[in-house]
């Protein structure tokens, strides 16, 4: 894996992490402010962007959730082919 590939994957993951974090924040806020219109709009906006970011990541770098572990033409279980998230970029590059 080249250096550019790695940083592109990391950037795609960071985008998922950032958008998902925005949703987590809105989620907890809305639990105690369930009628806040600004909060509802914020959640909707980021949910749409998160869906796109996740789809983009999964298409290139492997499934994030088990429902998306198999594509139409897959003959092997790719879930076990990509590293688990506690494996650092340093460990990945050790091969």
């Amino acid at each position: 894996m080249t250096k550019t590939d790695k940083s592109e994957r990391q950037a795609a993951m960071l985008r998922v992490q950032q958008l998902s974090f925005a949703l987590t924040e809105a989620n907890l806020y809305l639990d105690s402010h369930p009628t806040c219109e600004k909060g509802i709009a914020y959640f909707k906006k980021h949910k749409e962007a998160l869906d796109k970011a996740k789809a983009e990541y999964e298409k290139k770098y492997g499934a994030l959730c088990i429902e998306n572990a198999l594509d139409e033409n897959d003959k092997k279980w790719k879930w076990v082919c990509e590293p688990f998230p506690w494996v650092s970029e340093y460990e990945r590059s050790e091969g």
Binding site: Q17, I66, W86, S88, Y90
Partner: protein, 202 residues
């Protein structure tokens, strides 16, 4: 039910091993104010919450704590990779190593294994939410204490993120406590336990 997402909530990429620091950070996995206790506390208490808002809050914060267990474990895993016997001995990791090698085991910094004694689930939402507020502050100060001993920016960044989450959760539990007290007789919150006593309806 819970579904797994194959990613961390916040990136953890640590280059240099540091078993001495791993031993300290382990407290936020299995120590008295760690993430395992937090997750179990909120996910156990939620059944006694008297309103949907507070049921949601305990469920959603409890769920976030599960992802913090994973982050803290990843930090410890990465800090204890590729250790030499010399590093293990000199950095005081030998006692842990004998019991667990470099496996992840929930234990406090002072070596006490995780226990459910670290939290309560009283069945009384006012008592529970007051415990939750204290728990978030205790976890925050534990992260503050860890930051006193952590120089490596690879470690400090995810620890600072986790510290910040304690402050946000404290705020949200404050709102939850207000929601519960607002629904009770404001002259005497403690007249009865809204999750157990069923006062006569007029």
């Amino acid at each position: 039910m819970f579904a797994y997402e194959k990613r961390l909530q916040y990136p953890v990429n640590i280059k240099n091993p540091n078993p001495a620091l791993a031993k300290l950070i382990m407290s936020q996995l299995g120590g008295p104010d760690g993430e395992a206790g937090a997750a179990l506390r909120y996910l156990s208490q939620r059944y006694a919450a008297p309103t949907r808002e507070v049921q949601a809050m305990l469920t959603d914060i409890g769920t976030e704590e599960l992802s913090h267990i994973e982050m803290v474990s990843a930090i410890i895993y990465q800090l204890t990779r590729n250790l030499t016997p010399k590093q293990i001995k000199e950095q005081g990791f030998d006692a842990y190593f004998v019991d667990h090698t470099t496996g992840i085991y929930p234990v406090s910094a002072s070596g006490v294994p995780f226990s459910a004694d670290y939290f309560q689930s009283t069945g009384d939402p006012i008592a529970d939410l007051n415990e939750d507020l204290a728990a978030e502050q205790k976890a925050r100060l534990t992260y503050d204490n860890i930051l006193r001993f952590a120089d490596d920016p690879d470690v400090r960044e995810p620890i600072k993120f986790l510290r910040e989450r304690e402050i946000v959760h404290y705020q949200r539990f404050g709102e939850s406590l207000r929601i519960v007290t607002d629904m009770l007789d404001e002259r005497n919150f403690y007249a009865f336990n809204p999750s157990f006593d069923k006062p006569k309806k007029k």
